[in-house]
Amino acid sequence: MVLLIGMAPSLAWASVNLRFGLGSAVAKRGADAINQAGASDAAKATGDAVIATLDSCPAGAVYDSPPTDLSLIRGIEPLGHVAPPPHTFPSDHIYFYATTSTVEGVPVYAPGNVHITDIASTQYLSASPVFTDYAVYFYPCKQLRTYYGHVRTLSPAVQRALDGAAQNCSTYSTGDRTYYRCDTNVNIPLASGDLIGNGPPGGAFDFGSYDDRVILGPFAAPVRHADSYQSHTVCPVDYFTTGPKTSMQALLGRGDGGYRRQVLPLCGQYNHDVAGTARGFWYYPGAPNVPEDPHLSLIVDDVYAPKETISVGTSLPNQTPIFYTFVANDNGQVDREFSEVRPDGNIYCYDTFYDPAGQLAGSHIFILQLLNAQTIRFESQPDATCGAGPWSFTTNAVNFER
């Protein structure tokens, strides 16, 4: 029921509605006020408020300029890269590795007409000398959030827009290193191909996207990923027009360009969970989801797929954080494919590991047992090979959970 009534002209009486409950009435009027604030604020909106001013994303490509000069890139590492302990879990972004070490680093461009909404500066307090780099978050349209990470310098235009804006800062630690991060909400419209900044000299910069229209899944423990951007992780390469997309796909593989990924999806994957099996994300009991340091992941390798990877964080008493790749078997209890390891009472053993360069590595074995769908027991042991078994756990074994 809507009753239109005439009220004092100085007040914004638009309509009078019948509401069931004062809480509902306030929520509805609060939503109206917030929408009104967003609309009136559109021209000077910053941060998330910018999103409401953008159009919905079309189906298909939204980016038409390469993120960088691709002739300066050796390789693009796909989604799912691990580097424990800070990246014990598969990464939700891809990495662009520069061909040569230069003072300035490769240029980083706006891949389409975008609005930068947030720039996060990170000061590496444990580094010597201390240095700062930037993560730049932007939207080409309402549902697609994209970012560059490890941008070492900002372009003069972006830097000018950033200067003087209010910051939200905090200090955090992961992987025994301490960081000081400041987020700044901005609204910097850029045209496709505009310079955003430069990557690190001789290193890699991150490139990641989250599409609200895409929901990954199923995760073995959905509550761990609820309300996170990561549950919307997509490959940013898939959002480019054919030319730059093809050029980038040809570079997907090892960062040094020494090996190209052979298995679809070429851009890798973020979610590796297979519920009821050993494959996917495993969490150290009682530890928060992030930082990832104490956890464990058992995944398909991002470069050498279908080879699989064990990524161990800081929780094993006799094992430093490390990740190894191995050739998975479809039978037996040695190097058995993670998605085929079930809570069957068996202990499985893993040996014959390879390092990121594809060379044999490691002088120990890992044994694991899926106790139930939610719990895995895991241990590193000093033997060179698994042998014929059977294997047994010691007091160094650690349980992880979904």
Partner: protein, 204 residues
């Protein structure tokens, strides 16, 4: 037959609810309850209270509530009521609500203070009216926007007294709701008619 004007429909309906729909078993309590009520009201000097008496005897209820403190649950919230007398009460209440916005679902919380004046308190279906002031907050799930403000309104309604301790309230009234978004200082003031319901239980 001439159709009565629309403005008479509501009063006629209320009259029907109060008088014609009086349950038969209520008459069993008629005499004792009216005596009790007369005794109670005779302690006051208010003419209006005494004038109410003849009406009260027509719609007897389960007895005048003696409980000072009453707890209640309302639509998406709860309340705590203090009865100063059978006619006068004050109440603190909490309510929440949800609505969609351009920035995801907005969740609102409301803390309110109500004053009540009840007519025919011994009736099974007493009328009541009063006013309310409340402070409000609303926040969407995906942005830094939030609103603070107030709501103020008047209401009138009817109480169904299922027993001496338990009653069901339903009321309707105009509320001014004014909220200011904290980042942009955008203020929106509106008038809504709000329907409230509550289940009330007398404690002691």
């Amino acid at each position: 037959m001439r159709i009565p004007p629309r403005r008479w429909v509501l009063p006629c309906l209320l009259n029907f609810l109060v008088i014609a729909e009086m349950p038969p078993w209520a008459n069993a309590e008629d005499l004792s309850e009216s005596v009790q009520l007369q005794s109670l009201l005779s302690e006051t000097d208010k003419v209006a209270e005494k004038n109410d008496l003849k009406h009260l005897t027509l719609t007897p209820g389960p007895g005048v509530a003696h409980e000072r403190l009453a707890l209640g649950i309302n639509y998406t919230g709860g309340q705590l009521r203090w009865n100063f007398s059978p006619q006068w009460a004050a109440e603190v209440r909490y309510q929440q609500g949800q609505a969609s916005s351009n920035y995801g679902d907005v969740k609102a919380v409301v803390f309110g203070l109500r004053g009540y004046r009840t007519s025919h308190p011994a009736s099974r279906l007493p009328f009541y009216w009063g006013s309310e002031v409340a402070v409000t907050n609303a926040k969407p799930e995906t942005s830094g926007y939030s609103t603070n403000g107030f709501a103020a309104g008047a209401f009138a309604g009817m109480r169904y007294r299922a027993s001496r301790r338990i009653s069901l309230d339903i009321d309707l009234g105009p509320y001014v709701i004014s909220q200011t978004e904290t980042n942009t200082h955008t203020t929106a003031t509106n008038l809504d008619f709000v329907l409230n319901t509550a289940l009330i239980v007398g404690i002691f």
